[in-house]
C-alpha cells in the first residue's frame, strides 16, 4: 500500500521530456544547445586543462621559473623514448642525458644525447621546494627525473627550462585576459547603460568620449601608457597596470553595443508592458532589460579574451608589458625577436604555439556560446 503511494508520487514527479523542455528557462536551453556543440565543448576542456596547469604551475612545472640549470644553456628539447638502443621496449618513458660540447670554431654549444645512460621519467618526484598559492609548501613535482634533467621544450639562453616557464607564463597570460575583460565589461556596461537608458546630454558626452578614445591608434596608445609606468613598480603592480591599460580601450566597443541594446529594449513590448503594469525603473532595468542581453555579454566577453591575450603578448614582446623577472608568453617570445636565435634555437617559438591554442580555444567556445545564445538561428 505504502509502496504504491510512493510509486504514484514518483510518476508525478517524473515529467515527460517534452514537459521539461517547455519548462526550461532560456539559460537551460542555452546550456543544452552549447553542450551539443562538440568543438566548443572540447575547446572548453582544453581551456580547463590550461587553467588548471596555470593555477598549479609550481607543482606541474618540473623546475622553478627562474631556476638555472647548469650546463644547459640553449639546450634543445629532450626526446622522450620508449625504445632504447638495443631495441628493448620500456613501459616507462625515458630521456638520454645531453652532453654539452663547445665548438672551438663557432663558439656554439653542441648537445649530443649520451645513449649510455637512461633517465626514466617519474610522476611525483622530489625537486626544488616551492610555495603554491601562497599556502601549500611542498617539494613534490608532478613529473621529472630522479637523476639528470628533463627539458621537454628545451632551455633558454640562461639555461632555464622552457616548459616550466611556459606554465608560469600561462598564469599571467591567461588571467590578464579575464581580469582585463571583466574590467572592460563593468565599465562598458555602466557607461553604455547610462548612455542608452537616459539618453540626452549624458549620452552625447559618453559617445563623444568613446569616439575620442577610439580615434587614438591602439599600439601607440598602449605604448605611451606602459612607457609611463614607473620602473620601480613591483611585478604585481605592473601586471594590474597593464590590464587596466588594455581594458581602457576595450570598454568602448562594449559601451556602444550596450547602449544600442538599451535603446532597442526600451521600445520592446514586454518592457513597455512592465512599465504599463507599474513596475519601477530599477525592476524594469534589472529584471527585464539586463537579463535579455546578459547572454550576449557573456558571449562577447569570451570572444574578447583572446584579443586581450594577444594584446598582452604583443606588448610584452615589444618589451612594454610584463617585464622580467615576471614571465608571460609574450615576455618569453621576446627572445625570439632575434632571427639568429630563431634559426639556431627554434624551440623558443613554442610559447607562440600556446598563444595560438589558447586563442583558438577561446574563439571556439565563444562561437559555441554565440550559437547557443541566439535562439533564432
Amino acid at each position: 500500500m505504502k509502496r504504491e503511494q510512493k510509486k504514484d508520487q514518483n510518476s508525478r514527479r517524473e515529467l515527460s521530456a517534452e514537459e521539461r523542455m517547455y519548462m526550461a528557462s532560456q539559460w537551460r536551453l542555452m546550456a543544452r544547445r552549447f553542450f551539443r556543440h562538440k568543438i566548443a565543448v572540447s575547446a572548453l576542456a582544453v581551456l580547463g586543462i590550461f587553467y588548471i596547469l596555470a593555477i598549479f604551475c609550481p607543482f606541474f612545472a618540473p623546475y622553478g621559473k627562474n631556476q638555472r640549470l647548469k650546463g644547459y644553456i640553449h639546450a634543445p628539447p629532450h626526446k622522450v623514448h620508449f625504445v632504447d638502443e638495443s631495441g628493448e621496449f620500456h613501459l616507462r618513458p625515458f630521456v638520454y642525458p645531453h652532453k654539452q660540447e663547445l665548438n672551438e670554431e663557432t663558439l656554439s654549444r653542441n648537445y649530443t644525447p649520451d645513449k649510455s645512460e637512461k633517465h626514466f621519467l617519474k610522476f611525483f618526484v622530489e625537486g626544488k621546494p616551492y610555495t603554491m598559492l601562497g599556502i601549500i609548501k611542498s617539494r613534490t613535482h608532478f613529473i621529472g627525473t630522479e637523476k639528470g634533467k628533463f627539458l621537454l621544450f628545451g632551455a633558454d639562453e640562461m639555461g632555464r627550462d622552457l616548459f616550466s616557464r611556459i606554465l608560469f607564463g600561462a598564469r599571467v597570460s591567461l588571467t590578464i585576459g579575464l581580469v582585463g575583460v571583466f574590467l572592460a565589461l563593468v565599465l562598458g556596461t555602466i557607461m553604455g547603460g547610462i548612455s542608452g537608458y537616459y539618453g540626452g546630454k549624458p549620452d552625447m558626452l559618453i559617445q563623444r568620449v568613446i569616439e575620442f578614445i577610439m580615434s587614438i591608434p591602439a599600439i601607440p596608445f598602449w605604448m605611451a601608457l606602459s612607457a609611463a609606468l614607473p620602473p620601480t613598480w613591483s611585478v604585481i603592480m605592473v601586471y594590474f597596470a597593464i590590464t587596466v591599460i588594455l581594458s581602457l580601450r576595450r570598454w568602448c566597443g562594449i559601451a556602444r553595443v550596450v547602449r544600442g541594446k538599451f535603446l532597442q529594449l526600451r521600445e520592446e513590448d514586454f518592457v513597455v508592458a512592465a512599465k504599463a503594469a507599474g513596475a519601477s525603473e530599477s525592476r524594469i532595468m534589472f529584471v527585464h532589460m539586463v537579463p535579455s542581453f546578459l547572454s550576449w555579454i557573456i558571449v562577447r566577453a569570451t570572444i574578447m579574451i583572446p584579443g586581450m591575450i594577444i594584446a598582452e603578448t604583443g606588448l610584452s614582446f615589444l618589451g612594454l608589458g610584463i617585464r622580467p623577472p615576471a614571465v608571460s608568453w609574450g615576455a618569453l617570445l621576446k627572445s625570439a625577436q632575434n632571427v639568429q636565435n630563431v634559426l639556431m634555437y627554434p624551440w623558443i617559438l613554442i610559447p607562440g604555439i600556446f598563444v595560438v591554442i589558447a586563442v583558438l580555444a577561446y574563439n571556439f567556445v565563444g562561437d559555441g556560446l554565440r550559437d547557443a545564445a541566439d535562439p533564432y538561428q
Binding site: Y22, D269, A274, A276, A277, G278, S280, S292
Partner: protein
C-alpha cells in the same frame, strides 16, 4: 445592442485637446527641422462598460494615441480625465510617483504576442507581475490569483511554470490578456490584439474578449485597422486620419451611412465574403500624405473624390451633425455616402 445603455452611463475617460507632436531634429546641435503632429487635438469620451473602436491606416497615430492615454508617451498638450471610484483625476497632471499608483487602472493588450512577453519569465511570473509590482498580492496568494486568471482566459493551470516559447501565438495572447486583467482594471487599451493571429484564432480571442468584458465590466479602446473586428465587438467607432479624428459614430450608423469620405473609402476597401457580383479591388487613391508636411486645408482633400475649392483652404472642424455623430468634413450633410449595408 447596448447602445442606449452606454450613452446613459457615466463617462469613464474624457480626453480633451490631446496633442502629441514629435519634433524632427537634424544635425549636431539638434536643430528642429519640422514637427510631426502624430495626435492633433483629439477629443473623445469613453463611457463605462463601452467598447470604442479606433480605426485608421498605418501611421495615422492610432498607436501613439493609445500610448499617450497610458502615458507611456508624454503628450504635448491636453487633458485626460479619468473618473473612477468617484474620483476624477487628470492623468496628465500626475507626477511620476502618483502615476505609478494609477497605472493599474489602465492596462494594455499588445499587438505582437511574441515580443510582448518576456522570454525569460515563466507564465506565472508574467501574469503575476502587475499584482506583484503594485503590492496587491504575493507568495501563495499571488499564485492562487494567477491560477484563477489563467483558468479564466482558458489556459491550462498545469502550464504555469512554462516559458513563453512553449506556447502558440493564440495562447500567448491569452497570457497577455490574463496579465492585463490581473489588476482588475476598469479600462483596457487593446492595440491590434488580433492582427498578428490567424483568422480562426482571431475569432476565439475576440469572443474571449467579449466574454471577459461582461464578466469584468470593462471598458475598452480597441485599436485596429480591421473593420470587421470593429463591427464584431465595438459599440462606437472613431476614425483617425493623419492625427485627426475625422468621424465618430455608433458602429451601426457608421457602417450603414458614413459621413466622412475617408470612412467611405475604408468601408469600400473591406473584402466581402459571399458577395456574388463582380469583384472590384479597391484602394484609396494615392498615398497617405507625409505627416510632417500635412496638406493645407482638409488633410484628406488630395485623395478625396468629392473635394471642392473650400477643402483646399479651410481645415474643417469636428462637428456634430446628428445625435452622437461627429464628422470633420465641410460637406458631411450634403454628401450621401455609401456604407456596406446599403448595397
Amino acid at each position: 445592442m447596448s447602445n442606449d445603455e452606454t450613452t446613459e452611463s457615466s463617462p469613464l475617460l474624457q480626453v480633451e485637446g490631446l496633442k502629441k507632436y514629435f519634433s524632427i531634429t537634424k544635425g549636431f546641435f539638434s536643430r528642429v527641422k519640422g514637427t510631426v503632429k502624430a495626435v492633433d487635438d483629439v477629443n473623445f469620451t469613453i463611457f463605462k462598460g463601452e467598447n470604442v473602436g479606433l480605426v485608421g491606416e498605418s501611421g495615422c497615430g492610432k498607436t501613439t494615441l493609445g500610448r499617450c492615454l497610458l502615458r507611456l508617451l508624454d503628450p504635448t498638450d491636453g487633458h485626460i480625465n479619468f473618473n473612477f471610484d468617484h474620483k476624477a483625476v487628470d492623468l496628465l497632471a500626475l507626477n511620476k510617483k502618483e502615476l505609478r499608483a494609477y497605472r493599474r487602472y489602465i492596462q494594455m493588450i499588445f499587438q505582437d504576442p511574441y515580443s510582448s512577453l518576456n522570454p525569460r519569465m515563466p507564465m506565472v511570473d508574467i501574469v503575476g507581475e502587475p499584482l506583484k509590482v503594485n503590492g496587491i498580492a504575493k507568495g501563495d496568494e499571488l499564485e492562487e490569483r494567477v491560477r484563477d486568471l489563467v483558468d479564466t482566459v482558458g489556459l491550462d493551470v498545469r502550464h504555469l511554470r512554462r516559458y513563453p516559447h512553449a506556447f502558440s501565438g493564440g495562447q500567448r495572447q491569452r497570457i497577455g490578456l490574463a496579465r492585463a486583467l490581473s489588476v482588475n482594471p476598469p479600462f483596457i487599451i487593446a492595440d491590434e490584439p488580433t492582427s498578428a493571429l490567424d483568422v480562426s484564432v482571431q475569432a476565439t480571442i475576440l469572443n474571449l474578449l467579449q466574454d471577459l468584458q461582461e464578466q469584468f465590466n470593462l471598458s475598452m479602446l480597441f485599436i485596429t485597422h480591421d473593420l470587421s473586428v470593429i463591427h464584431h465587438i465595438c459599440q462606437r467607432v472613431m476614425v483617425m486620419y493623419l492625427g485627426n479624428v475625422v468621424e465618430v459614430a455608433r458602429t451601426k450608423d457608421l457602417f450603414t451611412q458614413p459621413l466622412h469620405p475617408y470612412t467611405e473609402t475604408l468601408l469600400k476597401a473591406v473584402p466581402k465574403i459571399g458577395y456574388r457580383g463582380e469583384i472590384t479591388r479597391f484602394a484609396p487613391p494615392g498615398e497617405p500624405p507625409d505627416p510632417a508636411n500635412a496638406p493645407a486645408g482638409c488633410y484628406f482633400h488630395p485623395r478625396c473624390p468629392y473635394a471642392q475649392d473650400i477643402c483646399k483652404e479651410q481645415h474643417p472642424a469636428l462637428e456634430e451633425w446628428a445625435e452622437g455623430r461627429y464628422a470633420r468634413c465641410h460637406f458631411a450633410k450634403e454628401l450621401s455616402l455609401k456604407g456596406v449595408g446599403s448595397e
